[in-house]
């Protein structure tokens, strides 16, 4: 099988590639970059993607797939479909499933389920048994089975002592500990603490709950020379702490979720549970700090924190509704609209944050648009505007606050593992 991707600009920051050229892909391998012959076109299925970009496939390092345990909300396959529709060729899935990803069996189960899917799924193993924060999970076994990082996501590793051990242990595999930073003694609220929470009468989480754990994690990482990754960073102080830690040479990375550089706590005023997430939506100042962090490289990557929930779970009294929103299918649009269109990031920087950096953090090879390499490519349009319609989501869940919002930047196709995904579904290539 051979195909031609025609008319796109190749944008590959690692190779400093940024020019228009057609691609010939034969049996899933990039055969020619430019200089295609007439025969190449004649013998190929030609995909006309004029004016769009071909970039290394996007990677979302923070996804909740819900399988095993809550297949009614999302399965490995539906989540992977949502990823493909959102322009991702790879995702890392968080371990707060039931059972948690805390045994080699669960890691292997996930890897097997997605083995034929063009989206690669990399499990993140639990740090502690049952994510209780008490005793280490079998991290070596998890790593050997295919886990690429460790996290008790949903909560921070409760005890500093256990976190220290986990970072030391994970160092043996050069794997990061991914931290959901929230001091458990200040957790449990339904939104960010401040004037808005006071007027809404909602129990709230102070921003220092995040800052304190970021600070602790930096200190532990510095002490054991470990590797820590801050998930969904959301406060001004936390961004500054990471910035300073990086200056000191501590092995720390961070991600930001699209909602944390797009929305503020003010959106909660109608008690719409689609704005309820953890970390909660913060203030305008925090949003600006997250954007600044993305600009200056303090924040390495963008990750959706895709958190599917059933309709009946979100359509509930605000305090009882679960945290989180689906994000795989809106990440690119939000990032282009909020970051590229507003001149905070160049397209090349965006590709670094969506494709290059997340893989580097997880020690996964970064795909290149180069002859002889396997084609792992995302095709997207940076100018096309579209309106989010949750009924068209591939994800099983529809809990998004962005329904009806007009975005710029739209994924058109992903190519990986000798398959191409577009509006028409998957085809072998």
């Amino acid at each position: 099988m051979q195909i031609v991707i025609k008319g796109t600009t190749l944008l590959d920051p690692q190779q400093k590639l940024n020019h228009k050229a057609d691609l010939l892909i034969v049996d899933g391998i990039i055969n020619k970059v430019g200089n295609l012959s007439k025969d190449d076109y004649r013998h190929s299925t030609v995909y006309e993607f004029d004016g769009k970009y071909s970039v290394p496939g996007f990677f979302d390092m923070h996804v909740h797939l819900r399988e095993p345990g809550r297949e009614d909300k999302e399965t490995i396959i539906t989540g992977s479909n949502a990823a493909a529709a959102g322009g991702f060729t790879g995702i890392a899935c968080m371990p707060n499933t039931s059972p948690a990803i805390e045994s080699a069996e669960v890691v292997r189960f996930i890897k097997e389920k997605c083995s034929l899917h063009p989206v690669e799924v990399y499990p993140v193993g639990a740090v502690t048994a049952e994510r209780k924060g008490e005793a280490l999970a079998p991290m070596h076994e998890l790593f050997e089975a295919g886990a690429v990082a460790f996290s008790d996501d949903g909560t921070a590793v409760k005890s500093s002592g256990i976190l220290r051990l986990a970072m030391e242990y994970a160092k043996m595999f050069n794997a990061p500990v991914i931290e959901h930073c929230e001091d458990p003694s200040m957790a449990g609220g339904a939104m960010n603490e401040g004037y808005t929470s006071t007027t809404l009468g909602l129990p709230a989480i102070p921003s220092i709950a995040e800052d304190i754990i970021v600070m602790r994690d930096i200190m532990v990482a510095e002490y054991v020379k470990g590797k820590v990754h801050i998930a969904h960073i959301s406060t001004k102080n936390a961004v500054e702490l990471v910035r300073q830690a990086k200056k000191k040479g501590i092995d720390i990375t961070a991600e930001a979720a699209p909602h944390h550089f797009t929305l503020t706590e003010e959106y909660l005023k109608d008690f719409d549970t689609n704005y309820k997430m953890n970390p909660p939506l913060r203030t305008k100042e925090d949003v600006e700090a997250v954007i600044e962090g993305l600009k200056d490289g303090t924040i390495d990557c963008i990750a959706s924190d895709h958190a599917p929930h059933a309709i009946e779970e979100k359509e509930m009294e605000f305090v009882y509704a679960p945290n989180g929103i689906v994000g795989l299918e809106t990440t690119l649009g939000l990032a282009v609209t909020e970051l590229v269109e507003k001149k905070h990031l160049t397209l090349s920087q965006l590709v670094e944050k969506l494709a290059v950096n997340p893989r580097k953090i997880l020690n996964i090879p970064v795909p290149s648009i180069k002859e002889g390499e396997a084609a792992n490519i995302t095709v997207f349009d940076s100018k096309e505007t579209w309106t989010v319609d949750i009924s068209k989501f591939k994800s099983k869940s529809k809990n998004s606050p962005f329904n009806g919002v007009k975005l710029t930047g739209k994924p058109f196709a992903v190519i990986n593992k000798s398959k191409l995904y577009s509006d028409e579904g998957f085809v072998n290539i």
Partner: protein
């Protein structure tokens, strides 16, 4: 314009002036002064009805009202029920503890089922803030908030204002201090929003752990000295202190609270003998207020309870007769 039409127009205008701007009462935040005025004035009429030998009017005959109480409440529910009966409405009570409701049918299904039986108004109390707002999205009935989480308790705010106005004649420029656990009180927030609209000067007093973050942005002065608060205000609205001890409690003990913030006759006599004392009840005697004060000459605590029925009648009437 033909004469008859101008009469109709004038009648319509008057009607518009005599009705509320919203068909729900979710809270006092953003409720215009004219609406509050209208409710309080209407309540004055109903307050007279309560003094009659036959305390009943046919105003809401044929209307069906559900009291949806997801949280324990005796006085608020009884007050609402009585107000509904005095207006000749048909009332149904649905009371359940939130914990048992969480396990079974969803809130939305419960509401849809009740509504399918054709109800006109829902009075709701719930431990989660925002439930009344949520109800307006899933129900066609008029929604009346009887307390949601730590958010609002608008009829309490209204009856407090009514009780103050009854004594002072006006709320404009009056200094009102809310004393106690402001951060864990829906009464406080409704009082602040309502009194602010009516031109009163609102302050709060309590240990700083009881004062919620950012409250000063509502134009509220903060006192930590109860003597000063008594001396500088015309009215104290004394909040109930929760007796249950739990981790993360905002005060070391009720004893310490009483010693530094309790409203005692001695403090009143020393600082301001003209002060008016309100308390939303139920009272913890000897904690936030002494019996001497709770039963003494400065307070209007039982008046508040009577006024509560009149104010709720007013709100039910105004919402129930809207078109």
């Amino acid at each position: 314009m033909p004469f008859i039409l101008s009469i109709v127009q004038r009648f319509k205008n008057e009607r518009r002036n005599m009705s509320l701007t919203s068909r729900h009462l979710l809270g006092l935040q953003g409720v215009p002064k004219e609406d509050i005025q209208l409710i309080l004035d209407t309540a004055t009429t109903f307050r007279e009805v309560l003094e009659r030998p036959i305390k009943k009017v046919p105003t809401l005959q044929g209307k069906t009202i559900v009291n949806l109480f997801y949280e324990n409440s005796t006085r608020t529910r009884i007050s609402f029920e009585l107000a509904q009966k005095r207006l000749s409405a048909d009332t149904i009570n649905f009371s359940t503890s939130t914990s048992s409701a969480k396990k079974g049918e969803t809130f939305k299904d419960t509401v849809r089922n009740i509504e399918a039986m054709k109800v006109d108004m829902i009075v709701v109390r719930h431990e989660s803030a925002g439930v009344p707002q949520y109800l307006t999205r899933i129900s066609k009935a008029n929604i009346l908030n009887a307390g949601d989480g730590l958010h609002e308790h608008p009829t309490q705010g209204l009856l407090d204002m009514y009780s103050i106005r009854e004594k002072t004649g006006s709320l404009e420029g009056l200094k009102v201090c809310i004393v106690g656990d402001v951060g864990h009180s829906r009464v406080a927030l409704s009082n602040i929003f309502g009194l602010n609209s009516m031109g009163a000067k609102v302050s709060v007093c309590g240990p700083l752990t009881m004062i919620p973050v950012g409250i000063e942005k509502l134009g509220v002065k903060i006192y930590t000295d109860i003597n000063k608060a008594i001396a500088e205000n015309d009215v104290l609205n004394v909040l109930r202190i929760q007796l249950e001890r739990k981790a993360g409690q905002v005060i070391p003990s009720t004893r310490e609270y009483h010693n530094y913030y309790g409203i005692t006759a001695e403090r009143i006599e020393k600082n301001n003998k003209n002060i008016l004392i309100l308390h939303p009840g139920p009272i913890n005697r000897g904690v936030e207020i002494t019996s001497e004060v709770a039963d003494g000459p400065y307070q209007v605590i039982l008046d508040q309870v009577t006024n509560g029925v009149a104010v709720r009648m007013a709100v039910l009437y105004l919402l129930g007769t809207m078109h």
